[in-house]
């Protein structure tokens, strides 16, 4: 626990601090960049892109060794991975556009072929005599053990640039994701925006190789915006909430993994992210599962209450068990089903409201008023006192006066 607190305040050692900064920057970039991937419904393409990085990593290593280098320069490896990710992306779009195959088939094909080639290359590299033990497998799931200052700088700068570019392009990307035909009609180059979006995703993938690895990076791209979506109905908010969720997962996840020796950073970061997703799924106001259940319950109670009161006012027997429970729970009826004093006046009020609605609907036929009748909304929340007085005059007679006395 102490270790964890120390890590949270960047006080758990030099390496842990570097990892925390890197993971946070990566999380923000992934959340922000992944937002449009999610909105454009292209999450799986990013999986293909991520898996396509592997051959590039292997080839870059081989080339660097052949040129006499050590082969482990992070920048060099990332450059190679970006190049092969780009080829993978082109392959997916080429197959989708030029053949009759659907995108999911193209993704499956590209993902497995590139990943297979990558694994073969890594195996070859392991048996190569030249070059030190490469440790390239760490790109699969990420590895932060030997993270250098320069690595952290690459990740931070790359992440910041990606997030900035996404924020800059947010509006055209939103329009393309929402309504691509309309986007074209106002002169937005849709294929170019799509390519740009995938380039941003590619950048996130590449800078995330070191920390999260290519297998789990998709989670960092997709989970934050999906979780953010529970909290808001506006795409501009999804962007920053996703960035916040990604960034805090990176920070908290790296702190957790720093607090115990055997915890891998990447997977822990992803798990923290998933935990935030579950909390959002359950607890978000409005769109969360709990809120939905509660809202539905409350609504159901209102419906039963109203129906029960109207039945009381007409002197009809109530058979629905739930209605009886709601009414007796509020002390509106006695155990034997007979209305109490409060029950009778509430029933009279409900009946009067219903009468007023009837009159109002014919009085205000040409307005939006009739559409607002749902059997539940009390009319005095919709109309002014004067308007209601006019309606009551329309209803007329001693009945109105009588009910007025009751309320």
């Amino acid at each position: 626990m102490n270790n964890f607190l120390a890590a949270l305040t960047l006080g758990a050692g030099y390496n842990s601090a570097l990892v925390a900064i890197g993971a946070t920057c990566l999380g923000v970039a992934a959340g922000v960049g992944g937002t449009f991937l999610f909105l454009r419904k292209r999450a799986l393409v990013s999986d293909a892109v991520a898996h396509s990085t592997l051959p590039g990593v292997g080839l870059a290593f081989i080339i660097m060794v052949m040129l006499g280098g050590e082969g482990r320069s992070l920048a060099g490896l990332l450059l190679g991975s970006a190049a092969s990710a780009f080829v993978g992306l082109l392959a997916v779009s080429w197959i989708t556009e030029r053949t009759r195959l659907a995108e999911d088939a193209a993704i499956g094909a590209v993902l497995s072929v590139f990943f297979g080639v990558g694994v073969v290359l890594l195996t070859v590299i392991q048996t190569m005599s030249s070059g030190r033990q490469a440790g390239l497998e760490s790109f699969l799931l990420g590895s932060t053990a030997g993270m250098l200052f320069s690595d952290a700088v690459v990740i931070a700068v790359g992440g910041a640039a990606t997030a900035l570019a996404t924020v800059l392009m947010r509006r055209p990307m939103t329009i393309v994701a929402f309504d691509p035909d309309y986007a074209r009609s106002i002169g937005i180059d849709v294929p170019r925006i799509d390519l740009l979006m995938m380039a941003l995703v590619m950048a996130v993938t590449v800078i995330g190789l070191k920390i999260v690895g290519l297998i789990l990076i998709v989670a960092m791209l997709i989970i934050p915006p999906v979780a953010a979506r529970f909290w808001t109905d506006r795409s501009s908010n999804v962007i920053w909430i996703a960035g916040l969720i990604g960034g805090s997962s990176g920070f908290v996840g790296s702190a957790i993994s720093a607090s115990a020796p055997a915890l891998p950073t990447g997977p822990i970061v992803v798990l923290v992210c998933a935990a935030i997703f579950f909390v959002s799924l359950l607890a978000a106001p409005d769109r969360g599962v709990l809120a939905a259940v509660l809202r539905h319950r409350a609504f159901q109670r209102r419906v039963h209450r109203r129906q029960g009161l109207l039945a009381l006012s007409r002197g009809e027997p109530i058979h629905d068990v739930m209605t009886l429970r709601v009414l007796s729970g509020e002390g509106l009826i006695r155990a034997d089903g007979v209305a109490t004093e409060t029950g009778r006046s509430a029933a009279a009020r409900a009946a009067r409201d219903e009468r007023r609605w009837d009159v109002a609907r014919s009085l205000y036929q040409d307005t939006s008023l009739p559409g607002r009748y749902d059997g539940l909304t009390a009319i005095d929340t919709v109309l002014t006192r004067d308007e209601i007085a006019a309606i009551d005059r329309e209803i007329g007679g001693p009945a109105a006066l009588d009910i007025k006395g009751a309320s």
Partner: protein, 270 residues
């Protein structure tokens, strides 16, 4: 003599040698062909829409009405043909043209509110860097007001009925403040009150000097709503003033005899 004839014709067809002056027309297409496979959806269409007029595009299902609009806007690629907006190339005049798609095939669960959708119509003036200011928001509300949707400004776009969604997309087009409005079946599936509201907005646009082109299916209202008509069934059948071309003969040619003559008799024809 005989040898030079074809060459002149080719040049004219390409629109290079003999360039007509189309600057008076808010939207003109020449020799437009679009095909989704090996079968043209529209074939060699010439159309010259009139400024400050309301034009109906009329034709049976699958006649290529939507395709004509989409190709004119560059939404689907043209196999051949030329599109001009006030005589200029489409890309130079994008800002002058606004589009309301047919029952837009958008993701209705998309995180966007009604007012945000209307603000999308201002993207060309906002560009990448400008922020959305209260003035933009105010204009968006004005556009919603014109289509009677102000009360719904804060709703998520999916929480609307079909007719309400249609009106929001009209408001988005209004926000573009364009000179020509292309609408694909704006009256499909809307109730009589909404139809009246929409046609009032369109007539106001016309009165304001804008041009309106509408894909329209209801033959009974064509003469009431529109000044001009463009009849299409893959090829152009006829175009011109309602008074001179909205007649049984054109309708028969357009619908290929699929329209019962009793139906035609009931229409207010020219």
């Amino acid at each position: 003599m005989a040898k030079t004839m074809p060459r002149v014709q080719l040049a004219a067809a390409g629109g290079e040698a003999v360039r007509e002056d189309l600057s008076a027309s808010p939207l003109a297409v020449r020799g437009l062909t679009v095909s989704y496979g090996n079968k043209p959806a529209v074939f060699s269409i010439d159309a010259t829409f009139r400024a400050e007029a309301m034009t109906a595009i009329i034709g049976p299902n699958g006649a290529g009405k939507s395709t004509l609009l989409k190709a004119a806007l560059g939404i689907v690629p043209r196999l051949s043909g030329r599109v001009t907006v006030f005589g200029e190339a489409l890309d130079k005049a994008r800002g002058r043209i606004a589009y309301v798609p047919q029952r837009a095939s958008v993701d209705w669960d998309f995180p966007t509110r009604v007012v945000d959708v209307v603000i999308m119509g201002m993207q060309r003036e906002l560009g990448l860097l400008r922020l959305v200011r209260p003035a933009h928001r105010k204009r968006a509300f004005e556009c919603l007001e014109r289509v009677g949707m102000v009360d719904f400004a804060d709703r998520q776009i999916g929480q609307l009925s079909g007719g309400q969604q249609q009106r929001v997309f009209l408001a988005r087009a209004l926000a573009q403040n364009a000179d020509i409005y292309l609408l694909d079946e704006p009256f499909a599936g809307v109730d009589a009150a909404t139809e009246k509201a929409i046609i009032d907005v369109l007539k106001a646009l016309k009165a304001d000097g804008r041009s309106v082109v509408c894909v329209h299916h209801d033959l009974a209202t064509v003469a009431d709503y529109f000044d001009d008509a463009f009849f299409i069934n893959v090829r152009k059948i006829a175009e011109g003033r309602i008074a001179s071309i909205f007649n049984a003969e054109t309708l028969q040619a357009t619908y290929g005899g699929r329209l019962a003559s009793t139906h035609i008799d009931q229409l207010r024809l020219a």
